[in-house]
């Protein structure tokens, strides 16, 4: 197959539009970090923005939107594994009593005075 037919096969997206979208989303991320909103909202917003940017790169720069389904399934596999991993690690993160608590040294400090 020639380069010409390959280029015709993919409808080339407007790459500059994707670039500006990525640049703007990065600026939004930086603004969100220091926004006066609850930490949990910041974290959720940052995750959404990051996934959005990653999806833009995969869909348009990596042409996933214009590829066969097989490549799409290959790309989705690590996402499924990563999601599973988060649930596997969740019990560790939620086990608060395992934390090396900072409260202990803080409680000792006044005692020393």
């Amino acid at each position: 197959m020639t380069a010409a037919t390959a280029a015709a096969g993919h409808k080339h997206p407007d790459y500059m539009r994707i670039f500006w979208a990525l640049a703007i989303l990065t600026v939004v991320e930086l603004a969100v970090v220091f926004a006066p909103i609850p930490k949990l909202v910041i974290a959720a917003a940052l995750v959404v923005l990051a996934v959005w940017k990653a999806a833009l790169v995969a869909m348009y720069f990596m042409h996933l939107r214009f590829e066969t389904k097989t490549l799409g399934w290959i790309a989705v596999t690590p996402l499924a594994i990563a999601t599973l991993l988060v649930f596997l690690l969740l019990p560790d993160g939620l086990a608060v009593d395992h934390k090396t608590s900072r409260e202990k040294p803080a409680a000792e400090a006044p005692a020393k005075k």
Binding site: A3, Y15, E29, T68, T70, L89, D92, G93
Partner: protein, 215 residues
């Protein structure tokens, strides 16, 4: 070519399959990248688990700063654009412009690694080490000196930096590949595949930047 020879050739490398109509190389790169993504995903998940179970994890941007890293993020996005431009120009049959864009992409990657080296040496100088946090880094962290913070930071950003370094070498070798092939169509697949790798490295950085610097 006899029908027999054609059949044999077809058995070794079918020109088209339902799995990947364009090239086996692309399928191979996607499978490699899926595996690599699991590697990065595991590192980031481990980072999250360590952070969630530590009570004295600092605010990453207090210690790391994000101005330089934001610029590095922008640089990597720009290098992704030069990468797609390289492929676009090769598709139009212009090998010279394609190679210039490939070179610009490699240069972007090299500058990225250089800036990362500068960032690392600054942080190490401030007292952020694999073994823990000391001196000025500990002050910046407002006393939240989780020992694993430095270790996880250097491992994840180092793993990504190695990918960028490998990508720069890969890009340079593809410039040579294009140079050696007068027919632009002959190197189209190779350029598309190096592009997949390069965009993946950009994609991973988007994740690393968010999870290790901003969150």
């Amino acid at each position: 070519m006899t029908a027999e020879a054609a059949a044999l050739h077809g058995a070794v490398e079918p020109a088209e399959t339902p799995v990947t109509p364009e090239s086996w190389g692309k399928l191979g790169m996607w499978i490699f990248l899926a595996g690599d993504a699991v590697g990065f995903g595991t590192l980031l998940a481990a980072y999250g688990a360590m952070r969630a179970t530590s009570a004295d994890w600092p605010n990453p941007y207090d210690v790391l700063g994000i101005n330089l890293t934001a610029a590095m993020t922008f640089l990597l996005i720009c290098s992704s654009v030069t990468m797609v431009k390289a492929l676009e120009w090769l598709g139009k049959g212009d090998r010279i412009t394609c190679r210039l864009y490939l070179l610009a992409t490699a240069l972007g990657g090299a500058i990225f690694v250089g800036l990362q080296g500068y960032e690392w040496s600054k942080l190490i100088h401030e007292g952020l080490l694999i073994s823990g946090m000391h001196g000025h880094a500990l002050e910046l962290a407002k006393g939240h000196g989780a020992a694993l913070f430095g270790a996880s930071f250097f491992i994840v950003t180092g793993f990504h930096g190695l990918h960028v370094t490998g990508g720069v070498i890969y890009l340079l070798s593809i410039i040579r590949y294009v140079t050696n092939r007068p027919d632009p169509a002959a190197s189209y697949n190779a350029v598309e595949i190096v592009g997949l790798y390069w965009h993946f490295v950009d994609l991973v950085w988007i994740m690393v930047f968010t999870f290790m610097y901003l969150l």
